[in-house]
Protein backbone atom coordinates (compact mmCIF):
# COMPACT_ATOMS: atom_id res chain seq x y z
CA UNK A 1 0.00 0.00 0.00
CA UNK A 2 1.72 3.21 -1.15
CA UNK A 3 0.85 6.65 0.20
CA UNK A 4 -1.55 7.33 -2.65
CA UNK A 5 -3.56 4.15 -2.04
CA UNK A 6 -3.65 4.99 1.66
CA UNK A 7 -5.10 8.44 1.02
CA UNK A 8 -7.72 7.00 -1.34
CA UNK A 9 -8.65 4.49 1.38
CA UNK A 10 -8.87 7.24 4.00
CA UNK A 11 -11.04 9.31 1.64
CA UNK A 12 -13.45 6.42 1.21
CA UNK A 13 -13.43 5.75 4.97
CA UNK A 14 -14.19 9.34 6.01
CA UNK A 15 -16.91 9.87 3.39
CA UNK A 16 -18.52 6.56 4.38
CA UNK A 17 -18.65 7.66 8.01
CA UNK A 18 -20.52 10.80 6.98
CA UNK A 19 -22.98 8.70 4.94
CA UNK A 20 -23.39 6.33 7.89
CA UNK A 21 -24.08 9.13 10.38
CA UNK A 22 -26.65 10.73 8.04
CA UNK A 23 -28.58 7.48 7.62
CA UNK A 24 -28.26 5.98 11.10
CA UNK A 25 -29.50 9.10 12.91
CA UNK A 26 -32.77 8.78 10.93
CA UNK A 27 -33.43 5.24 12.17
CA UNK A 28 -36.20 5.26 14.84
CA UNK A 29 -35.42 3.84 18.32
CA UNK A 30 -37.97 1.09 17.80
CA UNK A 31 -35.68 -0.44 15.14
CA UNK A 32 -32.41 -0.08 17.06
CA UNK A 33 -32.06 -3.80 17.83
CA UNK A 34 -32.57 -4.87 14.18
CA UNK A 35 -30.18 -2.06 13.22
CA UNK A 36 -27.50 -3.55 15.45
CA UNK A 37 -27.94 -7.10 14.21
CA UNK A 38 -28.27 -5.97 10.59
CA UNK A 39 -25.28 -3.63 10.62
CA UNK A 40 -23.37 -6.37 12.42
CA UNK A 41 -24.11 -8.74 9.52
CA UNK A 42 -22.71 -6.09 7.16
CA UNK A 43 -19.48 -5.95 9.18
CA UNK A 44 -19.17 -9.66 8.32
CA UNK A 45 -17.95 -8.37 4.93
CA UNK A 46 -14.52 -9.33 6.25
CA UNK A 47 -15.67 -12.72 4.91
CA UNK A 48 -14.37 -11.81 1.45
CA UNK A 49 -10.88 -11.30 2.89
CA UNK A 50 -11.25 -14.66 4.65
CA UNK A 51 -12.22 -16.36 1.37
CA UNK A 52 -9.08 -15.04 -0.33
CA UNK A 53 -6.88 -16.32 2.53
CA UNK A 54 -8.57 -19.71 2.67
CA UNK A 55 -8.49 -20.26 -1.08
CA UNK A 56 -5.18 -18.84 -2.22
CA UNK A 57 -3.08 -21.67 -0.71
CA UNK A 58 0.01 -19.64 0.13
CA UNK A 59 0.86 -21.85 3.09
CA UNK A 60 -1.03 -24.44 5.10
CA UNK A 61 -1.07 -22.00 8.01
CA UNK A 62 -2.74 -19.18 6.07
CA UNK A 63 -5.27 -21.63 4.66
CA UNK A 64 -6.08 -22.78 8.19
CA UNK A 65 -6.38 -19.22 9.53
CA UNK A 66 -8.45 -18.25 6.51
CA UNK A 67 -10.80 -21.20 6.94
CA UNK A 68 -11.30 -20.38 10.60
CA UNK A 69 -12.05 -16.78 9.60
CA UNK A 70 -14.50 -18.02 6.95
CA UNK A 71 -16.37 -19.99 9.62
CA UNK A 72 -16.59 -17.03 12.05
CA UNK A 73 -17.49 -14.47 9.37
CA UNK A 74 -20.10 -16.76 7.80
CA UNK A 75 -21.81 -17.27 11.16
CA UNK A 76 -21.81 -13.49 11.52
CA UNK A 77 -23.21 -12.88 8.02
CA UNK A 78 -25.79 -15.67 7.74
CA UNK A 79 -26.92 -15.53 11.36
CA UNK A 80 -26.99 -11.73 11.37
CA UNK A 81 -29.13 -11.25 8.27
CA UNK A 82 -31.44 -14.13 9.20
CA UNK A 83 -32.14 -13.04 12.77
CA UNK A 84 -32.66 -9.46 11.57
CA UNK A 85 -35.19 -10.76 9.06
CA UNK A 86 -36.98 -12.68 11.81
CA UNK A 87 -37.24 -9.55 13.94
CA UNK A 88 -38.32 -7.24 11.12
CA UNK A 89 -41.08 -9.65 10.05
CA UNK A 90 -42.52 -9.19 13.54
CA UNK A 91 -42.59 -5.44 13.07
CA UNK A 92 -44.14 -5.70 9.60
CA UNK A 93 -47.09 -7.94 10.30
CA UNK A 94 -48.82 -5.22 12.29
CA UNK A 95 -49.26 -2.99 9.21
Amino acid sequence: MDAHTLVIGLTVFVLSIFVGVEIITKIPPTLHTPLMSGSNAISGITLIGALLSAGSQHTALTALLGTLAVVLATINVVGGFLVTHRMLEMFRRKD
Binding site: F13, N40, I42, A69, L82
Partner: protein, 470 residues
Protein backbone atom coordinates in the same frame (compact mmCIF):
# COMPACT_ATOMS: atom_id res chain seq x y z
CA UNK B 1 -14.18 -21.40 -13.87
CA UNK B 2 -14.25 -18.07 -15.72
CA UNK B 3 -11.92 -15.57 -14.09
CA UNK B 4 -12.91 -11.96 -13.66
CA UNK B 5 -10.45 -9.11 -14.18
CA UNK B 6 -9.73 -7.25 -10.96
CA UNK B 7 -11.27 -3.96 -12.18
CA UNK B 8 -14.56 -5.76 -12.78
CA UNK B 9 -14.42 -7.38 -9.32
CA UNK B 10 -13.88 -3.92 -7.80
CA UNK B 11 -16.85 -2.61 -9.76
CA UNK B 12 -19.06 -5.35 -8.35
CA UNK B 13 -17.75 -4.51 -4.86
CA UNK B 14 -18.91 -0.94 -5.45
CA UNK B 15 -22.39 -2.25 -6.29
CA UNK B 16 -22.32 -4.34 -3.08
CA UNK B 17 -21.36 -1.27 -1.01
CA UNK B 18 -24.21 0.71 -2.61
CA UNK B 19 -26.62 -2.11 -1.71
CA UNK B 20 -25.42 -1.98 1.92
CA UNK B 21 -26.13 1.75 2.07
CA UNK B 22 -29.56 1.33 0.46
CA UNK B 23 -30.25 -1.52 2.88
CA UNK B 24 -29.47 0.65 5.91
CA UNK B 25 -31.64 3.39 4.40
CA UNK B 26 -34.52 0.89 4.32
CA UNK B 27 -34.16 0.46 8.09
CA UNK B 28 -35.27 4.07 8.66
CA UNK B 29 -38.94 2.97 8.49
CA UNK B 30 -40.54 -0.24 9.82
CA UNK B 31 -42.50 -0.52 6.56
CA UNK B 32 -39.40 -0.68 4.37
CA UNK B 33 -37.10 -2.41 6.85
CA UNK B 34 -37.61 -6.01 5.68
CA UNK B 35 -36.79 -5.03 2.10
CA UNK B 36 -33.79 -3.05 3.37
CA UNK B 37 -32.35 -6.05 5.18
CA UNK B 38 -32.83 -8.25 2.10
CA UNK B 39 -31.11 -5.57 -0.01
CA UNK B 40 -28.11 -5.70 2.32
CA UNK B 41 -28.05 -9.50 2.19
CA UNK B 42 -28.08 -9.37 -1.64
CA UNK B 43 -25.09 -7.02 -1.51
CA UNK B 44 -23.26 -9.53 0.66
CA UNK B 45 -24.12 -12.42 -1.65
CA UNK B 46 -22.85 -10.44 -4.65
CA UNK B 47 -19.59 -9.62 -2.84
CA UNK B 48 -19.03 -13.28 -1.91
CA UNK B 49 -19.81 -14.62 -5.39
CA UNK B 50 -17.46 -12.25 -7.24
CA UNK B 51 -14.73 -12.97 -4.66
CA UNK B 52 -15.02 -16.67 -5.46
CA UNK B 53 -14.31 -15.76 -9.11
CA UNK B 54 -11.04 -14.05 -8.14
CA UNK B 55 -8.02 -15.69 -9.79
CA UNK B 56 -6.13 -15.81 -6.47
CA UNK B 57 -8.47 -18.52 -5.25
CA UNK B 58 -7.19 -21.85 -6.49
CA UNK B 59 -8.62 -24.26 -3.96
CA UNK B 60 -12.28 -24.36 -2.97
CA UNK B 61 -12.29 -27.30 -0.53
CA UNK B 62 -11.49 -25.30 2.61
CA UNK B 63 -13.75 -22.47 1.55
CA UNK B 64 -16.73 -24.79 1.06
CA UNK B 65 -16.05 -26.45 4.41
CA UNK B 66 -15.89 -23.08 6.19
CA UNK B 67 -19.00 -21.75 4.45
CA UNK B 68 -20.93 -24.94 5.27
CA UNK B 69 -20.02 -24.93 8.96
CA UNK B 70 -20.60 -21.19 9.30
CA UNK B 71 -23.96 -21.31 7.52
CA UNK B 72 -25.19 -24.25 9.61
CA UNK B 73 -24.21 -22.61 12.91
CA UNK B 74 -25.56 -19.21 11.83
CA UNK B 75 -28.92 -20.61 10.72
CA UNK B 76 -29.37 -22.66 13.89
CA UNK B 77 -28.49 -19.71 16.15
CA UNK B 78 -30.69 -17.26 14.24
CA UNK B 79 -33.76 -19.52 14.14
CA UNK B 80 -33.60 -20.95 17.64
CA UNK B 81 -32.76 -17.85 19.66
CA UNK B 82 -35.49 -16.46 21.90
CA UNK B 83 -36.26 -12.79 21.38
CA UNK B 84 -35.46 -12.12 25.05
CA UNK B 85 -31.92 -13.46 24.42
CA UNK B 86 -31.25 -11.15 21.47
CA UNK B 87 -28.62 -9.04 23.33
CA UNK B 88 -26.33 -12.02 23.90
CA UNK B 89 -26.73 -13.25 20.31
CA UNK B 90 -25.80 -9.85 18.90
CA UNK B 91 -22.84 -9.77 21.29
CA UNK B 92 -21.71 -13.18 20.02
CA UNK B 93 -22.03 -12.15 16.35
CA UNK B 94 -20.08 -8.94 17.05
CA UNK B 95 -17.31 -11.04 18.54
CA UNK B 96 -17.16 -13.46 15.61
CA UNK B 97 -16.91 -10.57 13.14
CA UNK B 98 -14.05 -9.03 15.13
CA UNK B 99 -12.26 -12.37 15.44
CA UNK B 100 -12.54 -13.02 11.70
CA UNK B 101 -11.01 -9.61 10.94
CA UNK B 102 -8.05 -10.29 13.24
CA UNK B 103 -7.46 -13.69 11.61
CA UNK B 104 -7.64 -12.28 8.08
CA UNK B 105 -5.13 -9.54 8.88
CA UNK B 106 -2.81 -12.15 10.44
CA UNK B 107 -3.06 -14.44 7.41
CA UNK B 108 -2.34 -11.51 5.08
CA UNK B 109 0.75 -10.66 7.13
CA UNK B 110 2.08 -14.24 6.94
CA UNK B 111 1.46 -14.29 3.18
CA UNK B 112 3.41 -11.08 2.69
CA UNK B 113 6.31 -12.35 4.84
CA UNK B 114 6.50 -15.74 3.16
CA UNK B 115 6.27 -14.16 -0.31
CA UNK B 116 9.37 -12.04 0.34
CA UNK B 117 12.69 -13.52 -0.86
CA UNK B 118 14.51 -12.32 2.26
CA UNK B 119 13.35 -10.86 5.60
CA UNK B 120 14.43 -7.34 4.69
CA UNK B 121 12.34 -7.32 1.53
CA UNK B 122 8.90 -7.81 3.03
CA UNK B 123 6.73 -5.73 0.74
CA UNK B 124 4.72 -4.01 3.44
CA UNK B 125 4.63 -0.26 4.02
CA UNK B 126 4.29 1.34 7.44
CA UNK B 127 0.67 2.19 6.65
CA UNK B 128 -0.01 -1.44 5.84
CA UNK B 129 1.51 -2.59 9.11
CA UNK B 130 -0.34 0.00 11.17
CA UNK B 131 -3.59 -1.24 9.60
CA UNK B 132 -2.59 -4.84 10.36
CA UNK B 133 -1.86 -3.99 13.99
CA UNK B 134 -5.14 -2.06 14.30
CA UNK B 135 -7.07 -4.98 12.88
CA UNK B 136 -5.43 -7.44 15.29
CA UNK B 137 -5.88 -5.15 18.30
CA UNK B 138 -9.49 -4.10 17.68
CA UNK B 139 -10.52 -7.50 16.35
CA UNK B 140 -9.17 -9.43 19.34
CA UNK B 141 -10.61 -6.97 21.89
CA UNK B 142 -13.97 -7.27 20.11
CA UNK B 143 -13.82 -11.07 20.13
CA UNK B 144 -13.00 -11.65 23.79
CA UNK B 145 -14.92 -8.60 25.05
CA UNK B 146 -18.01 -9.86 23.25
CA UNK B 147 -17.56 -13.36 24.63
CA UNK B 148 -17.48 -11.93 28.16
CA UNK B 149 -20.58 -9.82 27.41
CA UNK B 150 -22.27 -12.96 26.06
CA UNK B 151 -21.35 -14.95 29.19
CA UNK B 152 -22.70 -12.19 31.44
CA UNK B 153 -25.98 -11.82 29.55
CA UNK B 154 -26.43 -15.59 29.40
CA UNK B 155 -25.74 -15.76 33.16
CA UNK B 156 -22.79 -18.10 32.60
CA UNK B 157 -20.79 -15.76 34.84
CA UNK B 158 -21.92 -13.13 37.33
CA UNK B 159 -23.68 -10.36 35.43
CA UNK B 160 -22.58 -7.83 38.02
CA UNK B 161 -19.50 -5.67 37.91
CA UNK B 162 -16.43 -7.80 38.60
CA UNK B 163 -13.34 -5.82 39.51
CA UNK B 164 -10.15 -6.09 41.53
CA UNK B 165 -7.91 -3.44 43.13
CA UNK B 166 -5.71 -1.83 40.51
CA UNK B 167 -7.93 -3.08 37.72
CA UNK B 168 -7.77 0.15 35.77
CA UNK B 169 -4.01 0.36 36.14
CA UNK B 170 -3.79 -3.21 34.84
CA UNK B 171 -5.93 -2.29 31.84
CA UNK B 172 -3.76 0.73 31.12
CA UNK B 173 -0.67 -1.49 31.32
CA UNK B 174 -2.19 -4.06 28.93
CA UNK B 175 -3.11 -1.30 26.49
CA UNK B 176 0.43 0.11 26.69
CA UNK B 177 1.95 -3.34 26.06
CA UNK B 178 -0.39 -3.84 23.09
CA UNK B 179 0.65 -0.51 21.60
CA UNK B 180 4.30 -1.39 22.19
CA UNK B 181 3.84 -4.68 20.34
CA UNK B 182 2.13 -2.80 17.51
CA UNK B 183 5.13 -0.49 17.30
CA UNK B 184 7.43 -3.53 17.23
CA UNK B 185 5.45 -5.00 14.34
CA UNK B 186 5.63 -1.76 12.36
CA UNK B 187 9.36 -1.41 13.05
CA UNK B 188 10.29 -5.02 12.29
CA UNK B 189 7.88 -6.85 9.98
CA UNK B 190 10.27 -9.75 9.28
CA UNK B 191 8.23 -12.16 11.43
CA UNK B 192 4.63 -12.46 12.51
CA UNK B 193 5.43 -13.31 16.16
CA UNK B 194 4.84 -9.74 17.33
CA UNK B 195 1.42 -9.76 15.66
CA UNK B 196 0.24 -12.91 17.43
CA UNK B 197 1.61 -11.64 20.76
CA UNK B 198 -0.38 -8.48 20.12
CA UNK B 199 -3.49 -10.57 19.51
CA UNK B 200 -2.95 -12.47 22.77
CA UNK B 201 -2.47 -9.28 24.82
CA UNK B 202 -5.49 -7.65 23.14
CA UNK B 203 -7.56 -10.76 23.94
CA UNK B 204 -6.71 -10.44 27.63
CA UNK B 205 -7.46 -6.71 27.43
CA UNK B 206 -10.90 -7.42 25.91
CA UNK B 207 -11.81 -9.68 28.84
CA UNK B 208 -10.44 -7.25 31.39
CA UNK B 209 -12.26 -4.25 29.87
CA UNK B 210 -15.72 -5.82 29.89
CA UNK B 211 -15.55 -7.70 33.24
CA UNK B 212 -16.05 -4.57 35.39
CA UNK B 213 -19.10 -3.48 33.38
CA UNK B 214 -22.34 -4.95 34.61
CA UNK B 215 -26.06 -5.27 34.20
CA UNK B 216 -27.78 -2.11 33.07
CA UNK B 217 -24.63 -0.73 31.40
CA UNK B 218 -24.73 -3.61 28.91
CA UNK B 219 -26.57 -1.60 26.21
CA UNK B 220 -23.57 0.74 26.03
CA UNK B 221 -21.06 -2.12 25.87
CA UNK B 222 -22.92 -3.96 23.12
CA UNK B 223 -23.29 -0.80 21.05
CA UNK B 224 -19.59 -0.07 21.50
CA UNK B 225 -18.54 -3.62 20.55
CA UNK B 226 -20.81 -3.29 17.51
CA UNK B 227 -18.82 -0.23 16.53
CA UNK B 228 -15.51 -2.06 17.13
CA UNK B 229 -16.53 -4.96 14.88
CA UNK B 230 -17.04 -2.39 12.12
CA UNK B 231 -13.73 -0.65 12.78
CA UNK B 232 -11.91 -4.00 12.73
CA UNK B 233 -13.43 -4.75 9.31
CA UNK B 234 -12.40 -1.29 8.07
CA UNK B 235 -8.82 -1.82 9.32
CA UNK B 236 -8.74 -5.15 7.48
CA UNK B 237 -9.96 -3.22 4.42
CA UNK B 238 -6.84 -1.04 4.65
CA UNK B 239 -4.68 -4.17 5.00
CA UNK B 240 -6.16 -5.66 1.82
CA UNK B 241 -6.62 -2.28 0.07
CA UNK B 242 -10.25 -3.25 -0.38
CA UNK B 243 -12.81 -0.44 -0.53
CA UNK B 244 -15.93 -2.49 0.17
CA UNK B 245 -14.45 -3.54 3.52
CA UNK B 246 -13.54 0.07 4.30
CA UNK B 247 -17.01 1.35 3.39
CA UNK B 248 -18.91 -1.36 5.27
CA UNK B 249 -16.66 -1.08 8.29
CA UNK B 250 -17.09 2.70 8.39
CA UNK B 251 -20.89 2.38 8.17
CA UNK B 252 -21.04 -0.12 11.03
CA UNK B 253 -18.49 1.84 13.06
CA UNK B 254 -20.62 4.99 12.71
CA UNK B 255 -23.78 3.09 13.61
CA UNK B 256 -22.25 1.68 16.79
CA UNK B 257 -20.85 5.04 17.87
CA UNK B 258 -24.23 6.75 17.39
CA UNK B 259 -26.05 4.08 19.40
CA UNK B 260 -23.38 4.28 22.12
CA UNK B 261 -23.91 8.04 22.32
CA UNK B 262 -27.71 7.67 22.53
CA UNK B 263 -27.37 5.12 25.34
CA UNK B 264 -24.92 7.28 27.32
CA UNK B 265 -27.18 10.34 26.98
CA UNK B 266 -30.14 8.27 28.18
CA UNK B 267 -28.20 7.61 31.40
CA UNK B 268 -26.66 11.08 31.67
CA UNK B 269 -23.23 9.46 31.88
CA UNK B 270 -20.14 9.87 29.78
CA UNK B 271 -18.73 6.90 27.91
CA UNK B 272 -15.61 7.17 30.08
CA UNK B 273 -17.75 6.94 33.20
CA UNK B 274 -19.57 3.84 31.91
CA UNK B 275 -16.33 2.10 30.92
CA UNK B 276 -14.16 3.04 33.86
CA UNK B 277 -16.41 4.63 36.50
CA UNK B 278 -17.53 2.68 39.49
CA UNK B 279 -21.27 2.88 40.06
CA UNK B 280 -21.45 3.04 43.84
CA UNK B 281 -24.45 4.14 45.87
CA UNK B 282 -23.89 7.62 47.26
CA UNK B 283 -23.14 7.69 50.95
CA UNK B 284 -25.40 10.61 51.80
CA UNK B 285 -28.40 8.95 50.18
CA UNK B 286 -31.26 7.64 52.27
CA UNK B 287 -31.19 3.94 53.09
CA UNK B 288 -33.88 1.57 51.89
CA UNK B 289 -35.40 1.43 55.40
CA UNK B 290 -35.71 5.21 55.63
CA UNK B 291 -37.39 5.42 52.23
CA UNK B 292 -39.70 2.44 52.47
CA UNK B 293 -40.56 1.97 56.19
CA UNK B 294 -44.31 2.03 56.75
CA UNK B 295 -45.01 3.62 53.37
CA UNK B 296 -45.19 0.62 51.06
CA UNK B 297 -48.73 -0.32 50.05
CA UNK B 298 -48.82 -3.89 48.86
CA UNK B 299 -51.83 -4.78 46.76
CA UNK B 300 -53.52 -7.81 45.19
CA UNK B 301 -54.50 -8.61 41.62
CA UNK B 302 -58.19 -8.27 42.56
CA UNK B 303 -57.66 -4.77 43.96
CA UNK B 304 -55.72 -3.68 40.87
CA UNK B 305 -58.43 -5.16 38.62
CA UNK B 306 -60.97 -2.83 40.24
CA UNK B 307 -58.76 0.13 39.36
CA UNK B 308 -58.38 -1.03 35.77
CA UNK B 309 -62.15 -1.46 35.54
CA UNK B 310 -62.69 2.29 35.41
CA UNK B 311 -59.42 3.34 33.75
CA UNK B 312 -59.61 5.26 30.46
CA UNK B 313 -55.89 5.33 29.69
CA UNK B 314 -53.18 2.94 30.87
CA UNK B 315 -49.48 3.43 30.21
CA UNK B 316 -47.36 0.29 30.52
CA UNK B 317 -43.67 0.81 31.39
CA UNK B 318 -41.65 -2.35 30.67
CA UNK B 319 -38.11 -3.00 31.90
CA UNK B 320 -35.58 -5.81 31.88
CA UNK B 321 -37.76 -7.66 34.41
CA UNK B 322 -40.39 -8.16 31.70
CA UNK B 323 -37.77 -9.90 29.53
CA UNK B 324 -36.55 -12.07 32.43
CA UNK B 325 -40.11 -13.16 33.24
CA UNK B 326 -40.95 -13.67 29.51
CA UNK B 327 -44.03 -11.60 30.31
CA UNK B 328 -44.47 -9.93 26.90
CA UNK B 329 -47.24 -12.30 25.75
CA UNK B 330 -49.16 -11.91 29.02
CA UNK B 331 -48.80 -8.13 28.61
CA UNK B 332 -50.24 -8.42 25.09
CA UNK B 333 -53.25 -10.37 26.45
CA UNK B 334 -53.83 -7.72 29.12
CA UNK B 335 -53.59 -4.99 26.46
CA UNK B 336 -56.16 -6.72 24.23
CA UNK B 337 -58.52 -7.24 27.18
CA UNK B 338 -58.27 -3.61 28.31
CA UNK B 339 -58.78 -2.36 24.76
CA UNK B 340 -61.87 -4.52 24.33
CA UNK B 341 -63.25 -2.74 27.40
CA UNK B 342 -62.69 0.67 25.80
CA UNK B 343 -59.48 1.58 27.60
CA UNK B 344 -56.57 3.11 25.71
CA UNK B 345 -53.27 1.30 26.29
CA UNK B 346 -49.91 2.85 25.45
CA UNK B 347 -46.33 1.81 26.19
CA UNK B 348 -43.57 4.09 27.47
CA UNK B 349 -40.11 2.87 26.47
CA UNK B 350 -36.96 4.24 28.07
CA UNK B 351 -33.90 4.09 25.74
CA UNK B 352 -31.90 1.95 28.20
CA UNK B 353 -34.76 -0.33 29.27
CA UNK B 354 -33.49 -3.88 28.74
CA UNK B 355 -30.00 -4.98 27.83
CA UNK B 356 -29.54 -3.50 24.36
CA UNK B 357 -30.88 -0.56 22.34
CA UNK B 358 -34.46 -1.31 21.26
CA UNK B 359 -34.68 -4.53 23.32
CA UNK B 360 -38.20 -3.79 24.67
CA UNK B 361 -39.47 -2.81 21.22
CA UNK B 362 -38.47 -6.18 19.78
CA UNK B 363 -40.14 -8.10 22.63
CA UNK B 364 -43.37 -6.14 22.24
CA UNK B 365 -43.25 -6.59 18.46
CA UNK B 366 -42.87 -10.32 19.04
CA UNK B 367 -46.05 -10.17 21.14
CA UNK B 368 -47.91 -8.46 18.25
CA UNK B 369 -48.14 -5.04 19.85
CA UNK B 370 -48.28 -2.38 17.09
CA UNK B 371 -45.21 -0.16 17.15
CA UNK B 372 -47.29 3.04 17.01
CA UNK B 373 -48.41 2.28 20.59
CA UNK B 374 -44.79 2.50 21.78
CA UNK B 375 -43.88 5.99 22.98
CA UNK B 376 -40.31 7.12 23.59
CA UNK B 377 -39.20 9.27 26.51
CA UNK B 378 -40.16 12.65 25.01
CA UNK B 379 -43.54 11.45 23.79
CA UNK B 380 -44.46 9.51 26.92
CA UNK B 381 -43.70 12.01 29.69
CA UNK B 382 -46.35 14.62 28.74
CA UNK B 383 -48.94 11.81 28.57
CA UNK B 384 -48.57 10.57 32.16
CA UNK B 385 -50.58 13.51 33.57
CA UNK B 386 -53.62 12.35 31.61
CA UNK B 387 -53.08 8.70 32.49
CA UNK B 388 -55.21 6.79 34.99
CA UNK B 389 -52.79 3.95 35.65
CA UNK B 390 -49.05 3.66 34.97
CA UNK B 391 -48.25 -0.07 35.10
CA UNK B 392 -44.51 -0.56 35.71
CA UNK B 393 -43.35 -4.10 34.89
CA UNK B 394 -39.80 -4.98 35.90
CA UNK B 395 -38.37 -1.46 35.56
CA UNK B 396 -36.66 0.35 38.43
CA UNK B 397 -33.86 2.90 37.84
CA UNK B 398 -35.53 4.36 34.71
CA UNK B 399 -38.55 5.41 36.81
CA UNK B 400 -36.62 6.53 39.94
CA UNK B 401 -37.51 10.17 40.81
CA UNK B 402 -34.19 10.53 42.70
CA UNK B 403 -32.65 11.20 39.27
CA UNK B 404 -34.46 14.54 39.33
CA UNK B 405 -34.48 15.32 43.06
CA UNK B 406 -31.13 14.17 44.47
CA UNK B 407 -28.09 15.74 42.78
CA UNK B 408 -25.81 13.39 44.75
CA UNK B 409 -27.45 10.18 43.58
CA UNK B 410 -25.53 7.98 41.13
CA UNK B 411 -28.31 8.46 38.58
CA UNK B 412 -28.58 12.26 39.05
CA UNK B 413 -29.64 13.97 35.86
CA UNK B 414 -30.63 10.77 34.08
CA UNK B 415 -33.81 11.39 32.09
CA UNK B 416 -36.58 9.24 33.59
CA UNK B 417 -40.12 8.25 32.74
CA UNK B 418 -42.22 10.42 35.07
CA UNK B 419 -44.74 7.74 35.98
CA UNK B 420 -45.51 9.44 39.33
CA UNK B 421 -47.63 11.99 37.42
CA UNK B 422 -50.20 9.33 36.59
CA UNK B 423 -53.23 9.14 38.89
CA UNK B 424 -52.17 5.70 40.17
CA UNK B 425 -48.91 3.83 39.71
CA UNK B 426 -48.94 0.04 39.92
CA UNK B 427 -45.48 -1.53 40.17
CA UNK B 428 -45.13 -5.23 39.37
CA UNK B 429 -41.90 -6.40 40.97
CA UNK B 430 -40.61 -9.46 42.76
CA UNK B 431 -39.27 -7.60 45.80
CA UNK B 432 -38.04 -4.19 46.92
CA UNK B 433 -34.49 -5.07 45.87
CA UNK B 434 -32.67 -2.13 44.29
CA UNK B 435 -32.00 -1.81 40.56
CA UNK B 436 -28.57 -1.69 38.98
CA UNK B 437 -27.80 1.71 40.52
CA UNK B 438 -28.08 0.10 43.97
CA UNK B 439 -30.30 2.83 45.47
CA UNK B 440 -33.82 2.71 46.90
CA UNK B 441 -36.66 4.05 44.74
CA UNK B 442 -38.98 6.61 46.48
CA UNK B 443 -41.54 5.93 43.75
CA UNK B 444 -42.41 2.65 45.48
CA UNK B 445 -43.26 4.57 48.68
CA UNK B 446 -45.21 7.36 46.96
CA UNK B 447 -48.82 8.05 48.01
CA UNK B 448 -50.24 7.08 44.62
CA UNK B 449 -48.14 3.92 44.18
CA UNK B 450 -49.35 0.36 44.78
CA UNK B 451 -46.89 -2.55 44.80
CA UNK B 452 -48.02 -5.81 43.21
CA UNK B 453 -45.33 -8.22 44.32
CA UNK B 454 -44.65 -11.29 42.19
CA UNK B 455 -43.13 -12.64 38.98
CA UNK B 456 -44.00 -10.38 36.05
CA UNK B 457 -45.74 -13.00 33.99
CA UNK B 458 -47.67 -14.60 36.87
CA UNK B 459 -48.80 -11.22 38.21
CA UNK B 460 -50.10 -10.06 34.84
CA UNK B 461 -51.92 -13.38 34.28
CA UNK B 462 -53.58 -13.06 37.73
CA UNK B 463 -54.59 -9.52 36.84
CA UNK B 464 -56.19 -10.73 33.59
CA UNK B 465 -58.10 -13.46 35.46
CA UNK B 466 -59.29 -10.96 38.08
CA UNK B 467 -60.41 -8.49 35.38
CA UNK B 468 -62.40 -11.20 33.60
CA UNK B 469 -64.24 -12.07 36.81
CA UNK B 470 -65.50 -8.54 37.36
Amino acid sequence: MQELPSWLIDLFYLVAAALFILGLKGLTRPRTAVRGNITGACGMLLAVVVTLLDHHIIDFRWILLGLAIGTAVGVILALRIQMTAMPQLVALFNGFGGGASALVAGAALIEAISAASQPEAVGLTAANLVATAASGLIGAVTLTGSLVAFAKLQDLISSGATSFPGHQAANALLAAVALGLAAWLVGDPSGSGSYWLLVVVASVLGVSLVLPIGGADMPVVIALLNSYSGLAAAATGFVLSNNVLIISGALVGASGVILTKIMCEAMNRSLFNVLFGVMAPSEEGATADEVYAGKIKSTSAEEVALLFDTARRVMIVPGYGMAVAQAQHAVRDLTKLLESRGCEVLFAIHPVAGRMPGHMNVLLAEADIPYDKLKDLDEANPLFEQTDIALVIGANDVVNPLAQTDPNSPIAGMPILEVGKARTVVVVKRSLSPGFAGIPNPLFAADNTLMLFGDGQAAVRELIAALKEL
